[in-house]
Symmetry: C2
């Protein structure tokens, strides 16, 4: 079945859309290489992001294929511009995945729109949409990582202005075929066509936000679904954001729109195993990013607090993850849950097992529970 | 076998590399739509550029898959920004094709580098290269169609300067991981990394030229293989270009490099059938483009002259196309022949039959003949 009127109509199906998002895709070995080992042969030997994986190595498209088989609804790929995180062109990666799958929706998570050209972004996702028979989505964000700004000649002082302007242009291209437009951060357009047009009548565009109320209000003003990244702290703290979004939608005269929650997720057979297996990778990544951003070092103690009942991380046994998703659903009443699986240094087979458990043990229970809640 | 040192080493294999290039990919129905019929349902119903073509409709990836099965060496996709020609993001389309194929090399034909960002182009083709285990190539050109210039804010007055600058940057990115660079048409880079790095040690970059001697000298100066588009006139007229390229390579102190010839190709079972089937599509396309560019209308008489023994078009029976490729080989001694198959209004099954004949009837004879020529 093709969802022709945009994925947000799923809302009225009274189910929680469940997604896998590979936020930090990384080739095995490239982390080591980035650190200076320059072990190119090893990098080459361990690249298996292709269709006929002849070794046991699991690949991003294999993960996506399995996610679809398990009945998950959406598969996402993040955009980064670093030696340790490989996917700088999500549409090119998603296009390969489209050929391995038939039903699962394909999204960027996120497209760093502020430092990109909305014309090119639309063209790439429109092409993906045609190649996937209408499964493409754009999740647009201002960007959490900032490498792309100097790389494409943008000034971080214009961080928000860039996003606002480029988003407006993207939406204009989405609704009109011939564009007349003038702005500050891109050449003007004078009745120019942008092609190809997508398969779907309207390419879905979600706005991804961190914790800025202005971003939430903007999504409501522009009548766009909202994806909230809850990557730390307590989900409870996001209740005001969700309320603000719903209230703003109403004030702008729009109908309710879906809300997605994106959170770091790692599921293993037992609680202890989940934390023990996940922590070293979490620590490595967050220490590295933290060093770049001047954060204090992450401690195991803090980590465990975030893994606990009311924390932001969905790290645990299937039952713990079920409990947390349902807890968040009670709090936020969201429509989508996107499990962010960081591939950075995590072995692919661990990511695969996590997806297996998410699809086979967590998803069926969540769907049943939410259906029964909505009946009552 | 993986060609690790770049495809031009094929030269020493003493064979003519045979390629299919879909220069004007177009969705069935989109031509009609562009003409104003706005028959969206028909467009949607006839979109089958996907992995599990459930109808009889042939798709671009099916063509590529068949080209590989037939033993052709390269498959290419053109870049256009028009309602009637669909592929504005060749890397996204090629990435889907990479999942349906294992050996065939994948190239843009061409990437309109003058109006693009070399950083994004490199990132996309590098990603494609990883996804295809080292089969990606960039064929860079100044662009024959010019829609992309105003679309991306470039001035046609800078036509050549843009290409020169962007090509230099692309080559720098190809050979260095961290780039420091300053130019006129793109933001400067200060020791910034461009990722991912490709699977191949060096992403092949070909220079596509029309008929400008300066472009030929530039390719030689930059030590890059040359793709000559012979789309009209007489192949004989291109002998001076080929000589100029070889002489210039020598003067710049470079070793010989391969030369590719790209020409419009249509093969049918008989000579008459080929012309009768091909002419209406050729006429429709060239009249349309001609009107935009102020050319006089194309006549069947001129067309037939170009299809004759010494003309530029490879339209005919398998034997006629064999004769013309061998005639051109005698004249130009090229290393690659790329059959440009325009999909515009041509039904996909006709394109497929043409590829079938190219792979099954033409290619084996060409290979045998050239091998025996090179032995003597």
């Amino acid at each position: 079945m093709l969802i022709r009127k945009g994925v947000w109509q799923m809302r009225w199906a009274q189910r929680l859309v469940l997604a896998c998002v590979i936020v930090w895709p990384c080739l095995p070995g490239s982390m080591a290489r980035a650190e200076g080992s320059d072990d190119r042969q090893q990098l080459l030997a361990s690249v298996h992001v292709h269709s006929t994986a002849s070794t046991g190595e699991l690949t991003i498209d294999a993960l996506a294929e399995r996610a679809e088989q398990l009945g998950l609804d959406v598969f996402g790929i993040g955009e980064h511009h670093r030696p340790d995180l490989i996917a700088s062109s999500p549409a090119v990666v998603l296009s390969a995945i489209a050929q391995r799958t038939n039903k699962i929706r394909l999204t960027s998570a996120v497209t760093v729109l502020s430092s990109d050209d909305p014309v090119r972004v639309f063209q790439q996702f429109s092409t993906l949409d045609l190649l996937s028979n209408g499964r493409a989505e754009i999740m647009a964000g201002r960007g959490s990582f900032i490498e792309s700004f100097p790389l494409f000649g943008y000034d971080l002082h214009d961080y928000d202005e860039l996003f606002e302007e480029k988003l407006q242009l993207l939406l204009k291209i989405r609704s009109e075929e011939n564009i007349t437009w003038r702005g500050k951060h891109r050449a003007a357009l004078n009745n120019q066509g942008v092609y190809p047009r997508p398969f779907q009548e309207k390419l879905p565009v979600w706005i991804a936000v961190g914790g800025s109320p202005n971003s939430v209000i903007r999504a409501a003003r522009l009548n766009l679904p909202l994806a909230i990244a809850i990557i730390g702290g307590m989900p409870q703290g996001f209740v005001p954001f969700v309320d603000l979004y719903r209230k703003s939608l109403n004030e702008f005269g729009h109908d309710p729109l879906p809300i997605g929650i994106n959170s770091p997720t790692y599921i293993a057979d037992t609680s202890q195993q989940a934390q023990d297996e996940h922590w070293p990778h979490y620590e490595a990544l967050f220490s590295k990013i933290g060093k770049e951003r001047g954060w204090p070092p992450t401690t195991r103690h803090q980590y465990e607090a975030q893994c606990s009942e009311k924390g932001a991380l969905l790290v645990g046994s299937p039952q713990q993850v079920i409990d947390k998703i349902l807890y968040e659903y009670e709090l936020l009443g969201h429509d989508r849950f996107l499990a962010q699986i960081s591939m950075s240094s995590l072995p692919h087979e661990k990511a695969m097992h996590s997806i297996e458990l998410f699809g086979s043990k967590v998803a069926p229970v969540i769907r049943r529970e939410i259906e029964s809640k909505n009946k009552n």
